[in-house]
């Protein structure tokens, strides 16, 4: 089967089940791309994921590099469009629907009910990120200090992120 078609089927099938921020599908991607299709080695996948995580944006951008290795630049495009397209369209439909409920009493109830959910899931994301990286005590320290500084001051987050990078380089 054509590699581009295989990429499209793989990522298109995963797009709408990528719950919890989208990184939950990556073990399935790794299995299919490395063990089944042999598009890349396990080592390459891990290094690609490190690149995607280090760059800005979601870690799921690793799929573009899987597509790149499997089928060149067009493979990267197919991977990105088929993984991110369906979930974005779903969100667009949801946002449209939400917008038409402007002013409805139950939308205001739903907003109030969703607020604690947003808080809980935000902390859950932070906790998952902590476990997803090898966190030595220096990195835990950077996380803790950044959290305190960004909570009690109104400093620009960019300054704090840059300071985190410098500290990690020096220690």
């Amino acid at each position: 089967m054509n590699v581009l078609l295989q990429l499209a089927l793989l990522f298109g099938g995963l797009s709408l089940i990528a719950f919890g921020g989208g990184s939950g599908i990556l073990p399935a991607v790794q299995h299919e791309a490395v063990d089944v299709q042999h598009w890349l080695t396990g080592r390459e996948f891990i290094d690609f994921f490190a690149i995607a995580r280090a760059a800005p944006g979601p870690g799921s951008t690793v799929v573009m590099l899987v597509g790149l290795k499997a089928a060149g630049a067009l493979g990267a495009v197919v991977a990105a469009v088929t993984l991110f397209g369906p979930s974005s369209l779903l969100m667009f439909a949801a946002a449209k629907g939400w917008r038409t409920l402007e002013g409805a009493a139950w939308r205001r109830t739903a907003e109030a009910a969703l607020a604690p959910i947003a808080v809980g899931l935000t902390f859950a994301t932070g906790l998952s990120l902590l476990q997803g990286t090898e966190h030595g005590w220096v990195l835990y320290g950077i996380t803790a200090v950044s959290m305190v500084v960004l909570t009690v001051t109104d400093w620009h987050p960019g300054i704090v992120l840059a300071a985190g990078g410098v500290v990690s380089l020096l220690l």
């Binding site: 800005p56 946002a95 109830t109 009910a113 809980g120 990120l129 500084v149 992120l161």
Partner: protein, 197 residues
């Protein structure tokens, strides 16, 4: 502006009409360039709600929850949600395009470099530190939205339960929501009926 000051009675949605497509694209381009280590939604709240007043806190938080529940990366979902709310489909395209342009260019460039050189670009150490700070940004954002959104014990317990079961125990999202959301809904409706919202 110190963190404790509420944004005040910003007119519904935004002051002086919806921002232009160019302004939306530019704003999200900046967020896309800064969204290291998974702190994207925290950046968005700072830029969109606190700095520009394009959205009020409450609709933003509802959108954030929807985006966390829906499949796909939270930041991308939130860009689509905010863009759609500001300018419909073209707003969504502008927001998503701005947000994703820097990551796509950087990831592709680094990937091509890696395939050529066979090793990772030598900035890994710096970036793990930036990532660790970004997790701190995520937690700080959690504290700030909790201060605004949670005013009594039970919603606080619901939020804590979600954070622990999903973030630490890796419980699946759907059952956790099926337990917490109905409780939150009942509480919110009661609060509304009593005129507290």
């Amino acid at each position: 502006m110190p963190n404790d000051v509420a944004p005040g009675p910003v007119p519904r949605g935004m002051a002086g009409g919806a921002p232009s497509l160019g302004a939306i694209f530019g704003c999200f381009l900046g967020i896309g360039l800064s969204s290291f280590g998974g702190g994207t939604t925290a950046w968005m709240r700072k830029e969109l709600v606190r700095k520009r007043g394009w959205l009020e806190e409450r609709p933003f938080l509802a959108g954030l929850a929807l985006c966390q529940i829906a499949p796909g990366p939270n930041g991308m979902n939130l860009a689509v949600f905010v863009g759609t709310n500001l300018r419909g489909m073209r707003g969504a395209v502008a927001a998503l395009g701005g947000l994703m342009l820097p990551p796509v260019v950087i990831v592709m460039a680094a990937g091509l470099l890696y395939l050529r050189a066979g090793t990772l670009p030598g900035v890994q150490n710096v970036l793990t530190g930036v990532g660790a700070a970004a997790v701190g940004l995520m937690f700080a954002n959690g504290v700030q939205i909790a201060r605004r959104a949670i005013r009594s014990a039970v919603p606080g317990l619901l939020a804590t339960a979600l954070a622990v079961t999903i973030g630490l125990l890796h419980a699946p999202l759907l059952p956790a929501l099926l337990v917490t959301f109905p409780v939150s809904w009942v509480l919110a409706r009661r609060a509304r009926r009593q005129g507290r919202v």
